[in-house]
Symmetry: C2
Subunit: 629 residues, 2 copies
Amino acid sequence: MLTPRTPASLVSVAITDAFLLPRLSINREVTLPLECAHFRDTGRIDAWRPDGDPAAPAERHVFWDSDVAKWIEAAAYCVQVKPDPALEAQVDEIVALMADAQLPDGYLNSYFIHAEPDRRWSNLRDRHELYCAGHLIEAAVAYRDATGKTRFLDLMERYVDHIATVFGSAEGQRRGYPGHEEIELALVKLFRATGKQRYLDLAAFFVNERGRQPHYFAGEALERGEEPHAERFRYYQAHLPVREQTTAEGHAVRACYLYAGMADVAAETGDEALLEACRTLFANLVERRLYITGGIGSTHQGEAFTFDYDLPNEEAYAETCAAIALVFFAHRMLQIEPDSRYADAMERALYNGVLAGVSLDGKTFFYVNPLSQYPPASHHHGWVTERQEWFNCVCCPPNIARLFASLPQYLYSRSDDELYVHLYAGSVWTTEVAGRPVRFEQKSDYPWDGLIHGEFGLESPTEFTLALRLPGWCRAPALRVNGQPWPLETDRGYARIRRTWQDGDTVELDLPMPVERVAAHPHVRQNCGKIALQRGPIVYCLEEVDNGENLADIVLPDDAPLSIGYEESPFARVPVITARGRRRDPAEWQGVLYAPLGEAYYDIPILAIPYAWWANRQPGEMLVWINRA
Amino acid sequence: MLTPRTPASLVSVAITDAFLLPRLSINREVTLPLECAHFRDTGRIDAWRPDGDPAAPAERHVFWDSDVAKWIEAAAYCVQVKPDPALEAQVDEIVALMADAQLPDGYLNSYFIHAEPDRRWSNLRDRHELYCAGHLIEAAVAYRDATGKTRFLDLMERYVDHIATVFGSAEGQRRGYPGHEEIELALVKLFRATGKQRYLDLAAFFVNERGRQPHYFAGEALERGEEPHAERFRYYQAHLPVREQTTAEGHAVRACYLYAGMADVAAETGDEALLEACRTLFANLVERRLYITGGIGSTHQGEAFTFDYDLPNEEAYAETCAAIALVFFAHRMLQIEPDSRYADAMERALYNGVLAGVSLDGKTFFYVNPLSQYPPASHHHGWVTERQEWFNCVCCPPNIARLFASLPQYLYSRSDDELYVHLYAGSVWTTEVAGRPVRFEQKSDYPWDGLIHGEFGLESPTEFTLALRLPGWCRAPALRVNGQPWPLETDRGYARIRRTWQDGDTVELDLPMPVERVAAHPHVRQNCGKIALQRGPIVYCLEEVDNGENLADIVLPDDAPLSIGYEESPFARVPVITARGRRRDPAEWQGVLYAPLGEAYYDIPILAIPYAWWANRQPGEMLVWINRA
């Protein structure tokens, strides 16, 4: 058996952070109601009603249940942190619709019940049935935890018990698994919420069957009279049994949901081989297939991974949901084996690729998060990239909502006599260690400043280990305990301080964060000769509104000093990077497309803003990787 | 009326050039027989027989006639230059099949006659009927010129006369035009070959109807019960009447075939507005949408132009046929108004983008000509880019064959008292000027050396102008007449020497061709911070076989000396460029994807070969645009 750490519970952490709190408030107060209204408007809630209902729309979709489920999950976290009877009533209304819709055998999927009742389980590969079930399970567990109400969880247990009769290795059962993973990690949540071993067993079954021969998707396709198309199994991470997979392949969201589920099953079963597969996949992902923004999925084609070191910037897919899925996977690995590599990936994704997915006002969303945006706003074709209020496939907005609503859990975790700090943010954590209650108050201006102040509240002196993550981006961390320098004893990227802590003891972690030029591995051909600007965990970018058109031609000399400050910032309390760079004047190229080298470069001021803040003012170009000189 | 120059006739120019002659011989002796065999094997020739023929394949294609026609055209040029009864017999056999197939009304299309007789002219937009007719016309004219035999031309005149009954502005006629242009320029050839005005009128009709409202393609689609899809008209250059088009749009081959046809019609009709549209389109094309290799068409999607300055390298389409089509367009403009800009574009395409389309041995072909090739040969997915022996859509190989077979025409042209030299290549041109016979012998080691020697053979002293093109790539041309320096009097990029020439007079044009670093316009975002190596008209590239994997990481410092020489060349008589560059060592990045700038660069030797020679040894990476430092 592995002995994973336990993440902080949602209610045990009070966020007080000047950076995060406004985002979380907007998530709760703006995004959440907006999404619910959209769901109602688009028929996603009425979809639970029988076909005859006049409010039912013409075109149901197979994954509508998952959209609503993610929203319920987000709502549950919000209700758990701060009671909200009106919000709770909305959820109860939806749960009642589900209860009415549930079939006598427990089956519960609004699409198939009403639109294609005869096609249940006929296409696991493409039709999202188990995926929707997974999201509903996650929502039901969150809602029970938030409210103590069990109705939704009861519905889902009945549904899962039905699923367990359909799928399994016994005679007459299907040895299938979802084309879009999700239910695996959800079933582990359900196991943890109920203690019922059969849910864990079903999760393990889905994980273990995946990619085996004879291939389920092939047989299923033949049953439907279709070609098996084995060459497409990679898209579903079903090209090999999961323990034999060594590279992150296919649809990036599915991949990381699968890996998260694999990590969960490994954590609960102690399956070392499965865990090793997770480690291998994680390493491949972060060492060869990860955008500097924490985005994953290099191509629009299949919203998918491509191959090692292939990270095109303008053509990047980097779906918001995929960055979120990476957070899920990394967070699970971090509980199994605290290693700052996991937390680094989680932080990189959170502060860049995920945060970019929603506008500052919480009202519009990016599905795709390129690292370079062209053409400029003036382009005569006039197409622009702006966050959208809504998508037909609206997976990302409620995914952001549930992640933000549950964010406090990601900051800390603990074991019997260890407290871990993974992310730095102003907060108060009330938990217990070595059998005694403890309060840990964190103060900082992170991510804009690297000085972290922690203070313990203890009823009596207690011996335990405080493990503080030393971010991978930091070159010279320094530690003080009660104001005195403290030697860094590090283990896998965590500074460990074991001592008998007293009430009022303080710890200060100083993480100097100069602005840095970051280069990519030489095999990332798209970034050769370029650098990105990063400060602390924050990746910066150039935007047209600040730097003019044609960002690609801007050159930042290696020796140009980089300044950080608030004065020139277009955003309150957000520091920007300024420097002197160079560019050419297109006016000197009138009528000329190619010319012998020797053209003049002109000095220009450069202003870089955090990547996650782009596209919050006006449409136009954006660029992360800047040409060196 | 315009007074265009007359291109040299095919038989008037004897190529003696050490560079071109082997290519043209291989074209005749290897490529041409190989293509004919492929056509037979794939049923393209039997396609002319009735359906009942057992040799007829299952899947005819609407543009098969054009493939065979281009091959006949090439064969005709070969026969014209050097009698070849066996080759002539092959053509006669095909012509006999066509004669048998031709319908009583003159209609002549192997696909529609046999496969869909009831669908004639029902989809001009997509089904290549008029396109195939155009290629057959070109072939028939060439074959008549080569052999004096009129049977093929007679068939085609009957077909065109039929077409002229179907299309026109009279009551009951269709105001249509082809979705794939080609017949326009072919009809002008037919007009010139027969002197029959009605063929020119039909060409002008097709040009002038294009893009007008009510839109023919829209009406035609509605007749078929389909949506008009007006947003796709740009693909066919049918989004606007041609005189209102100002940017090169849509499918690049179609575009340049249209522009060539427009230029032809303008030349014959003196239509200044049409000519002005050609000038505008040409300027847009070469100033904003042209690869340095002479390739055009930036995207695979629709094999098409995208927008100004959008020239992606790895994703370039740059179809071989499109570079050829640009040669056609530029060559026609050059006759109308001798301006070296046209000849420069023609030369750029010929020596780079077109030449790259066929292997040195004449047996394999590129359809797509990117300016960067990735991944390396070692890549675990194992896909590689190599020239192919054949394509299902095999437009490019016979297009190369007919261009090469007719190449002598492109070197020279003349008017009453002017002789123009557009391209430099060892050759003897026997023509007339000022009413008297003249012989012009050109000797050079072009494109590897810029010293051009010319000598006149004249029966008696004759006053005329010799106009020598001063290539746009040359910074310091110098001229000598009979060994004495001669002042450069230039007009639109041509050095004009007007004098009374004597038998034995010599002229020497010295075109210094140092290796140059070429930069692209600042708006070509894909090439910012990069240079290409060019010497004379030849664009160079790096290949993996010479420079190792991961070419994108190679840096060529601006101050690194560039050497040109034959010693290190993998190709006989082809000079290569050598220099010292730098690169990083991926071994130092083990397990690291992003790191603060400061990594070591190592000195490496760089070897660049002419772009057109790439992919002649082993598969692997290739790169034209190199990072500066």
